[in-house]
Symmetry: C2
Subunit: 266 residues, 2 copies
């Protein structure tokens, strides 16, 4: 903390807390503002994975790494430092969507922090995945995490049922982990109660991360054939009743029409 005070007296008058979405993982998918805020920070905090994603932007800033699962400690440190310095907390994807904005602002509230807090949005993993698949999310959609670490499983099941009944395009996050092998299979089982087996499903790993990108285009009736391929870094997009697959000359693309075909001829 002493370090931060001497730093701030040189560079800032009063601190500022930025919570910055860094997008899917490659620098080119950051917003220009997110890049500039990171470049000009006194401190950059984050878990090691996210700090590695922006390593090319880190030079003179003080870096505070912490490990996954230490979100509350990390948030407390960011809030403390922000009283006197320009502090950036990096968050994968967007800061809001299962990101760090929540916990950091909760800690700021707890301490009634009186500095400017600026939340910078980023490209969230769902939309990175959607862009790789083509146009699966052009109309109303729901986003559901299958992680029951922080949300009771009954609530997750209820949301899966109602979102499927409403025929939303559905994006599933956190489909699997070592502790939760069966959640993905159970989610697909629920969705199939409402949606036809012909509905397109896209599975995307490491969407726009720059390395390890992979995708599968399949259908709800056949997606369980790919169950072993699905891991914690996979985003799943399930179409609605109007979605279809275009086997284009280059790759398979999912299209969810917005409804223009009801109004126009091509």
């Amino acid at each position: 903390m002493e370090e931060s005070q001497s730093q701030s007296q040189n560079k800032t008058s009063g601190g500022r807390l930025y919570i910055v979405g860094i997008g899917p993982g490659s620098i080119e998918q950051l917003t220009i503002k997110a890049r500039d805020v990171i470049l000009n920070a006194d401190y950059v905090l984050g878990n090691s994975t996210y700090l590695d994603h922006v390593a090319d932007l880190l030079g003179t800033q003080k870096i505070i790494r912490s490990s996954m699962g230490k979100e509350v400690d990390r948030a407390r440190k960011a809030v403390d430092l922000a009283k006197d310095a320009n502090v950036v907390m990096v968050s994968g994807g967007d800061t809001n969507v299962y990101g760090m904005a929540g916990i950091v602002i909760e800690v700021a509230e707890h301490e009634n922090l009186d500095v400017e807090i600026e939340v910078l949005p980023g490209v969230t993993a769902i939309l990175a995945a959607a862009s790789m698949l083509g146009a699966p999310v052009v109309t109303d959609f729901s986003v559901i995490s299958l992680s029951d670490l922080l949300t009771p499983w009954e609530v997750i099941e209820k949301r899966l049922n109602l979102a499927s009944e409403a025929d939303f395009v559905i994006a599933l996050y956190n489909p699997k982990s070592r502790q939760r092998k069966s959640n993905f299979a159970r989610a697909i089982e629920i969705i199939r109660k409402y949606k036809a087996d012909s509905v397109p499903v896209g599975l995307v790993k490491n969407a726009l991360r720059g390395e390890g990108e992979a995708q599968i285009v399949t259908t709800l009736g056949e997606v369980m054939e790919h169950e072993d391929w699905v891991d914690m870094s996979t985003v799943i997009l399930v179409g609605n009743a109007e979605s279809r697959i275009w086997n284009s000359p280059r790759k398979d693309i999912i299209i969810t029409p917005r409804g223009y075909q009801r109004k126009y001829d091509y």
Copy 2:
């Protein structure tokens, strides 16, 4: 079209079609890749509003403006030009979320276009609005457009009912237009059947657009007092049962806890 062929013979071998999300409207909210792809395009197509947002990036590219409502014509032109040139179709926010990816790829499918199609995601208006409000969307959420131009109103009502029953955080797009004055009031009425009057609601105009930004933090019970303020450019975010408002020393902030408070002490 002849123009495009001579152009392409100089600059590219075969064309490429980019569908590019430009984010909320200021250059600094573009991704670095979106900016670079626009800078290097042979043609940039879009409606006038979006082209104005990226005016600082437009110089040597050929620009094709079209007006709102001419999406199909614009898509057809982009697909045609992409056979021989680097073509960028710009789309506000993200390309998928009520964006141009759908219609452009539908037209490409109709013509069985055999060139690389690259969809570049952007910061969507919901997440730009969420970032201005703090952390309202940290957990599962649904996104619903209240425009019944392309979706039947019965489907919209069904989605409002089911998303509210599931206690999703709900983002509403296109709340009002000259033709549809009552849709917003009706949507709030439906949501109030399921969610308590104390649930926080954020209204955001021109989120992160750089000009005209404005926001109101209120509750479901009181949001109709602001009905006249809501217009077509407003995004509405309705919290879930755990969301709360922090009257911070700087501004009112919406927090939807992810559930850390069930697991940790601060």
